[in-house]
């Protein structure tokens, strides 16, 4: 397994490099360093000298990929791409364009993002799997029919509607929790309840339908019939056998998401005023802060790769037949 892991990690390097190059190219196709300088320096009284000074101070006065004026390895190293991207592989994300340390920002924002994303994920998974198993149990009955109708209706509604509707009903009309905001420590719970509840409810429709499909496929298998023939209760059949055998497709969709929970949610964080990484990314895009965008894309890629590796590893736990060679 170790060899497998090393191999996967080595594969990751060219992928990350590729992601970096693409991000870099895309960003600078639409944004020149002059544009970035203007964005940072504001609208009023910005002189060409100020723009040049800003670029020089941050190293944006160099060529993008190849420095023809340099010699030796400096042809590649004395460029914006190398100076801005190479250090990320060593975990140094540098400073945002406004001068603030990106690693510190990420560290401080990770907590709020996880405070929302993790419970939403765990509770959501429990609720949707349970609901899907219930629909599977009552398959072809009126409960199943109306359950699926409900799921289709729920997945047809925009996520934004859940957020605004939830805020309107639970916070504005019923005054049960704050409408938005975030507090550290013990105060965090009252800000977390509503986004988590909305996150869980908005995910029920699509996830339940997906899991139900998987369970229905499993429930007609021979081993299920055998389990029933042994006299096991239907619940035992569902939870001990069907669920366990349906784990591979479930894990494929679920484990890969776990590392990405760190990245937060763009929409939820924005509407609930959660100072997480999702809103950090959105702010950076709006402010054309390449340093932050680059760092977030890089971290997202790393986490996605980690998620894929974890997914592969998780298969060995649920299916002993799978071995890595």
């Amino acid at each position: 397994m170790l060899a497998y892991l090393v191999r996967r990690l080595l594969y990751a390097l060219p992928i990350l490099l590729g992601v970096n190059v693409i991000t870099f190219a895309l960003f600078f196709v639409v944004n020149t360093p002059d544009d970035m300088a203007r964005m940072q320096l504001g609208v009023k009284r910005v002189t060409p000298e100020a723009i040049e000074k800003w670029k020089a101070q941050r190293g944006y006065d160099k060529p993008l990929f190849i420095n023809e004026a340099a010699s030796g390895s400096a042809v590649f190293t004395d460029t914006i791409f190398f100076s801005k991207s190479a250090l990320m592989f060593a975990g140094d994300f540098g400073r945002a364009e406004d001068g603030r340390d990106i690693a510190r920002e990420i560290t401080s924002r990770m907590g709020p993002s996880l405070a929302i994303a993790l419970p939403t994920f765990v509770i959501g998974l429990l609720v949707t799997v349970s609901f899907a198993l219930m629909l599977t149990f009552f398959r072809a009955s009126y409960l199943d029919f109306w359950g699926v109708v409900l799921c289709v209706a729920m997945m047809s509604i925009s996520g934004l509607f859940y957020i605004i509707g939830g805020q309107f009903l639970i916070s504005k009309m019923w005054k049960l929790v704050p409408i938005s905001g975030y507090g550290g420590g013990l105060d965090a719970w009252k800000f977390v309840i509503l986004p988590v509840l909305i996150g869980v409810i908005s995910g029920i429709g699509s996830s339940t339908r997906w899991y139900r499909t998987i369970f229905l496929e499993e429930i007609s298998r021979d081993y299920v019939r055998t389990a029933r023939a042994k006299g096991l209760s239907e619940l035992a059949v569902l939870f001990r056998h069907v669920l366990r055998n349906a784990m591979i497709p479930i894990l494929t969709g679920v484990v890969v998401v776990i590392p990405l929970l760190f990245m937060g949610s763009l929409l939820t964080e924005s509407f609930f005023g959660i100072p997480g990484l999702g809103s950090y990314t959105i702010d950076a895009i709006n402010a054309q802060d390449f340093a932050v965008v680059r760092a977030m894309v890089f971290i997202g890629s790393v986490l996605y790769i980690v998620g894929l590796i974890l997914t592969d590893l998780s298969y060995t736990f649920v299916d002993p037949r799978i071995r890595f060679n």
Binding site: I123, L169, E234
Partner: protein, 730 residues
């Protein structure tokens, strides 16, 4: 059966737990939706919101509205605006008095105050600050028994465990001295800082440009993060007279300079603070002046988390200031003089929470968790009622809550500018002028304000907004090119007049009189979203009234700016907010010597009319008050008449700001120029607590309904399960 029980328990447990928790919380007390810690209840704290995170809190760089909300409460430049008087009046902040310029000729002889501008080689301002003003407590001022700074040789290792300013165990203070102001003015030229006014000020302050060059050279010799001690570099035009007095010398005459002395750019920054923040390892922890400002103002920033919350607390060393006892007529009746002579500030703390979205912001205001709020377009109808005559009043819902409304016309102008270098719409030929006049008539600004701004603006007749010297109301201020004066009111000229002008311009019915080609005008703008689209559709219809085709070229802000710089636009949409309340700050936008294409200036229309330039040159060097005020006014009127005739802009509107305040918030007056307003605000804490409780009683029955619904779903499932388990095989 055990399996059933297990299943039901598994299904119900998390839900019941959650609901029980909610019940428990709701039952604990009212105001479950209070977003603030319980410990803050009943405290003298003002609650407000901000939308965009401030980028800079260093006074040398900070220039935007989002930032000045904070910096103006912390830093104290020598001057400030009187809170109540209108027109805006400069008064001392830390200075003894508002400085008066002395003028000198090239030989160094002093000239009288009314000397001709051509003879004035230097203006000299002596600014004397009041002794005894002290800085907020800060570790940069902490000294040991020998009087040496406690934190003088920090590095990354010694900073272990320190993540914010409050983590430093020692703090100190010291008296404000003239050297601190001098140090900050030198910082305008700092090569590693980007002061937006450096370029402009280096043309005014003697020696500032040269200092910039010297500092740049000096910085090259040093490591990029080494401290640049500005005391080592003299600045010819800014000198220390004594411990409390400093002198600023300017090239020529610049009567608008005192306005700059009311901005944070000219606030004091002590040398030891600059040195403190320059130590190794500080910037990596965001311990910078840009993040933790240091000042003498009424408040100090104790928490800077621009992602969620920023907190200003009363500066225990604030030098003391009292609430004003005079204002403009009507202030006394409005209760704005009730706190006359009382010490400032009134509040102990101000908590600013970040609200990116308008809906949560508005609802929190209605729940009493923000003390004041603006009105977004979405909430406008809920908050404000517009009468038939355009009169504005609050809705019954707002009145029932005791909310009060403040309105004011902002010192801003929005306009569509013609590129005067364009061969079709530009130039000063009679035909081009008539074409622009025709378009000025066709675009119905009153309709725009009514449809898209809920009436929150007034149509502009010149670049000058109300409240600025030179703005004229009534018939005197009418733009005769666009409006007729009928029955004591301006009436937009009929579209036929515009058509006639268009024909005289060589474009009858929107077609070239010679070639028959249709007239196509390109509008460059920054836009996006549905709202913008509907505006642009409306604008297209305005041009279509004259059979002119409008092509909208929407682009991002940077592309737009680039096009302006290159003169690659025909018609563009822009706005301008005043830096200071002087007509020069608006009329310079059309100064021919400051053309965007020629010199990268602020005259984006590249308008160059020598007659206007002469008038502007005379006007900008005059004071509005004093014996030459009337002369200045006459020059402004002449200049505006020229602008109205030449029509380099389609004058748009001056926006009105509408803000709402709760009944417990006192001493609020609209001010769009002075920003250090927090110290004047007073809160009736008991009333706020009572009303908040009244408005935020939790509603519990939905929880019960949710529980019943859950049971209604689970119970049939459980019964169905039991029936199946007990049923015979089929």
């Amino acid at each position: 059966m055990p399996a059933l029980r297990l299943a039901v328990r598994r299904l119900l447990q998390p839900v019941l737990l959650l609901l029980s928790l909610l019940f428990l919380l709701a039952a604990c007390s009212s105001e479950q939706n209070d977003p603030y810690p319980q410990a803050e209840r009943g405290k003298n704290i003002l609650y407000a919101a901000f939308t965009d995170r401030p980028k800079h809190l260093d006074p040398v760089q900070s220039y935007s509205e989002d930032e000045i909300t904070f910096t103006a409460q912390i830093y104290e430049p020598p001057l400030q605006y009187h809170y109540l008087k209108r027109p805006y009046t400069l008064i001392p902040a830390t200075s003894e008095e508002v400085p008066v310029a002395r003028y000198y000729d090239a030989r160094g002889d002093e000239l009288p105050a009314d000397a001709p501008v051509a003879e004035i080689a230097r203006s000299v301002y002596d600014i004397r600050i009041r002794p005894g003003i002290r800085y907020q407590p800060h570790p940069a001022f902490a000294t040991d028994a020998a009087g040496q700074p406690v934190y003088r040789d920090l590095d990354a290792e010694k900073l272990r465990g320190i993540d914010q300013i409050a983590d430093f165990p020692d703090a100190g203070t010291r008296e404000l001295v003239a050297d601190d102001y001098i140090y900050q003015i030198k910082r305008l030229a700092h090569p590693r800082l980007h002061s937006p006014i450096f370029s402009m000020m280096s043309e005014r302050i003697i020696g500032l440009g040269e200092l910039g060059e010297t500092l740049r050279e000096a910085a090259k010799e040093m490591p990029s993060d080494a401290w640049l001690d500005l005391d080592r570099f003299p600045l010819a035009g800014v000198t220390r007279v004594d411990r409390y007095t400093y002198r600023i010398e300017l090239h020529g005459k610049y009567p608008q300079f005192p306005y700059w002395l009311a901005m944070p750019f000219f606030a004091p920054v002590p040398r030891e603070v600059d040195r403190f923040y320059s130590m190794p390892g500080m910037a990596e922890k965001n311990l910078t002046l840009d993040w933790y400002p240091v000042g003498t103002g009424p408040f100090m920033l104790t928490r800077n988390d621009p992602n969620s919350r920023m907190v200003l607390e009363r500066n225990p060393n604030f030098h003391g200031e009292t609430y004003p006892c005079v204002g403009e007529p009507g202030d006394e009746a409005a209760g704005l003089l009730a706190d006359c002579g009382k010490p400032l500030p009134f509040i102990d703390k101000a908590v600013f929470s970040r609200e990116k979205e308008a809906i949560p912001y508005w609802n929190k205001f209605l729940q009493g968790y923000y003390d004041a709020s603006g009105i977004s377009s979405d909430s406008f109808d809920q908050a404000v009622r517009l009468g038939v005559g355009g009169d504005v009043s609050l809705t019954d819902e707002m009145r029932a809550k005791g909310i009060h409304l403040l309105t004011s016309v902002r010192p801003s102008v929005f306009y569509m500018g013609f590129n005067m270098l364009d061969p079709v719409v530009g130039g000063l030929s009679e035909q081009a002028i008539k074409l622009r006049q025709a378009l000025s008539i066709a675009v119905d600004q009153e309709e725009f304000i009514s449809i898209f701004m809920n009436g929150r603006g007034i149509a502009a007749t010149s670049p000058l907004p109300p409240g600025i010297f030179g703005y004229l109301d009534g018939e005197d201020g009418n733009n005769p090119v666009v409006y007729d004066w009928v029955d004591g009111r301006p009436q937009r000229k009929a579209i036929e007049v515009a058509r006639k002008l268009l024909a005289e311009a060589g474009w009858p019915n929107g077609r070239n009189a010679t070639t028959g080609e249709p007239l196509v005008v390109n509008l460059d703008t920054t836009s996006g979203g549905m709202g913008e689209k509907s505006r642009l559709d409306w604008l297209t219809r305005q041009f279509a009234k004259l059979d002119i085709q409008l092509v909208v070229r929407s682009t991002d802000f940077n592309r737009f700016q680039e096009k302006l710089r290159k003169g690659a636009v025909q018609l563009y949409y822009l706005g301008w907010n005043a830096d200071y309340p002087d007509p020069e700050n608006f009329l310079f936008l059309l100064d021919g010597t400051d053309g965007k294409v020629a010199v990268g200036g602020e005259n984006a229309s590249n308008y160059a009319n020598p007659a206007y330039d002469r008038l502007f040159e005379r006007m900008k060097n005059m004071e509005s008050d004093g014996p030459r005020g009337a002369e200045r006014l006459a020059i402004i009127r002449e200049a505006i008449a020229l602008l109205q005739h030449d029509a380099p802009w389609i004058y748009g509107f001056h926006p009105k700001s509408y803000t709402l305040g709760h009944s417990w918030l006192h001493n609020r007056k609209s001010t769009d120029v002075g920003n250090n307003i927090l110290k004047y605000q007073r809160i009736d804490v008991a009333r706020r607590a009572r009303l908040r409780q009244e408005w935020n009683e939790p509603v519990l029955w939905p929880l019960l309904v949710a529980l019943l619904l859950l049971v209604a779903v689970i119970l049939p499932a459980a019964i169905g399960y039991r029936r199946r388990e007990r049923g015979t095989a089929r």
